[in-house]
């Protein structure tokens, strides 16, 4: 019984890590990143491949975060010269390009066959039955650390500038600061966090394949932060818990309502998410748990 809840909690925390990266990018900087899963994928594969080559897992995780962050650099440079909608499309295209590359470059990634046998975190250190629990605790620590770091960034002079950028970018340029520079950094940090999340997930699942990294994951993260409330870390936490809770909780609907077919139930699940998204944007723009009103860009 606990095992399942540990699994859900791990899932929540992995999503939460990704969401916190996106929260920094969108919630605090106003970057419309629709390619989050691309950075997540880079992190997963980087860490998995390195670990399979014998690199210690902590090192491979660090490399994963770094690599994902570096991957964001050119994207930022190119896309940030243009407006927000371009960034959305370029990042979406980027994540698809990453997936296709992972799928095609078999010499490196084994393509669609996926990577089995990725070293588990803590394997050999603790008894197998406690591994999941240890991964959960590690994720808690990582999440707390990441949240603390984001909090520190937001209230620093750097955070002040990104807040100003989100408020009025033209005025920031009028103050002699290059918004693209700040945005690129914010994009890179968020991407690095996503990469770290990807690495951690890879060492938890022990098997990854390119089809895990579809744009739907990005959209789930977006839904989580929009539901919870953009621009507040509390909203991000609540939104993620709510989304994963719903996605998982709806499994139990099937055990209760037997009359409805599985296909229909899956449809209902997506329908509820879609409707929730519309309704929150329409009627509660600050999100279910957010405080401040939405800002205009």
């Amino acid at each position: 019984m606990e095992g399942y809840f540990i699994a859900i909690a791990i899932s929540v925390l992995v999503y939460l890590l990704m969401a916190s990266g996106l929260a920094l990018q969108y919630g605090f900087t106003g970057l419309v990143n629709f390619g989050h899963v691309g950075f997540f994928a880079i992190g997963s594969y980087a860490s998995a491949l390195l670990a399979l080559k014998g690199v210690p897992v902590p090192v491979s995780l660090a490399a994963a975060a770094l690599l994902a962050a570096l991957a964001a650099y050119p994207i930022g440079i190119i896309a940030l010269r243009l407006g927000g909608d371009y960034l959305a499309i370029v990042t979406l295209g980027f994540s698809e390009a990453v997936r296709m590359t992972l799928q095609t470059e078999e010499w490196l990634t084994r393509g669609m066959h996926g990577l089995p046998g990725i070293p588990r975190l803590f394997a050999g250190w603790v008894e197998p039955r406690y591994i999941d629990l240890c991964i959960l605790l590690l994720l808690v620590v990582v999440c707390v650390a990441v949240f603390f770091a984001i909090h520190q960034i937001i209230k620093s002079p750097f955070g002040r500038v990104i807040e100003a950028i989100r408020d009025n970018e033209v005025a920031v340029r009028a103050l002699g600061k290059n918004p693209a520079q700040f945005k690129t950094r914010s994009l890179m940090i968020g991407a690095g966090i996503a990469g770290l999340a990807g690495g951690l997930q890879a060492h938890y699942l022990t098997f990854i394949s390119p089809e895990q990294y579809v744009p739907l994951i990005t959209f789930y993260i977006w839904i989580a932060i929009v539901l919870g409330g953009v621009g507040s870390l509390r909203g991000v936490v609540m939104g993620t818990v709510l989304l994963v809770g719903f996605l998982e909780g709806s499994r139990f609907l099937r055990d209760i309502f037997t009359g409805i077919s599985e296909v229909q139930l899956a449809s209902v699940r997506i329908w509820i998410i879609g409707m929730a998204l519309i309704c929150v944007v329409l009627y509660r723009p600050q999100g279910l748990f957010g405080k401040s009103a939405e800002r205009k860009h």
């Binding site: 002079p157 002040r160 009025n168 340029r173 009028a174 103050l175 700040f182 401040s292």
Partner: protein, 253 residues
């Protein structure tokens, strides 16, 4: 040599020629006005000079350096700053934070320093806060230090914008209609501050609709109409110019 010289600038929007061969100069520490009707191209000229709109042809030279191809923020860093017709305050931030953002090259803007130079950042923050208080006091904004900038009156926002520019320590500021939408009581105060700044050696170029106010303020004026400079000289000379009178159709003067 002039501090800022704009030479033969042309700008187009689609088929519409917004500026044709406009030239203008601002000397070191000078106070210059720029008048013209709606659509005469004044704001466009500002935008070209500060880099928001690319110049079709012509050059912008600032302190002897050709800055025509530079990005906005690079021009600002060289000391050429501007305000906007519609104030662009950071509406969701406090007046204090608005000012703090403006200071240039802060250590805390570098992420590595957040890890390794926390003490230095704290020190710098204190120093900047001190300076912010001084500038706010100078602009009579001390009372609203902790208000959200979005809640200020139109005039206060204009003052705040000027305040932010002062944090940059620029050598030339370009003010786009600083008196528009400002209540008459504040206008006097604004004028006073602008003159005071100029007295401290900052060159000022002002776009204004309100001819009377401007004529009192500046010793030298340019007049624009339909994308061209049609007159320049002392306020009296410019206002007496036939072309200028025609452009304004006698309505305002």
């Amino acid at each position: 040599m002039a501090l800022l010289s704009v030479t033969d600038i042309t700008a187009r929007f689609g088929g519409f020629k917004a500026l044709s061969s406009v030239s203008l100069e601002v000397g070191e520490g000078e106070l210059v006005g720029l008048i013209g009707t709606n659509g005469a191209g004044k704001s466009t000229l500002f935008s070209v000079a500060t880099g928001y709109i690319p110049a079709g042809s012509g050059s912008v030279v600032f302190r002897g350096e050709d800055i025509t191809e530079l990005a906005v923020h690079q021009r600002v860093r060289r000391g050429l700053a501007r305000t906007f017709q519609v104030p662009r305050e950071f509406s969701q931030m406090t007046v204090f934070d608005n000012m703090m953002v403006a200071a240039r090259d802060q250590r805390g803007e570098k992420l590595a320093n957040l890890l390794f130079a926390r003490g230095a950042i704290r020190e710098e923050e204190e120093r900047l806060a001190q300076r912010v208080r001084e500038v706010l006091a100078f602009l009579n904004l001390a009372r609203v230090t902790d208000e959200l900038a979005g809640k200020l009156s139109g005039g206060q926002k204009k003052l705040l914008e000027i305040g932010r520019l002062l944090m940059l320590e620029p050598s030339c500021i370009m003010l786009d209609e600083p008196f528009a939408g400002v209540n008459p009581v504040l206008i006097g105060q604004l004028c006073e501050r602008i003159v005071e700044l100029n007295r401290r050696g900052i060159a000022v170029l002002i776009i204004e609709h309100n001819l009377a106010e401007l004529a009192r303020l500046v010793p030298r004026l340019y007049a624009m109409d339909r994308g061209q400079v049609i007159a320049s000289g002392t306020p009296e000379a410019v206002l007496a110019d036939a072309g200028v009178r025609e452009a304004y159709m006698g309505g305002v003067i």
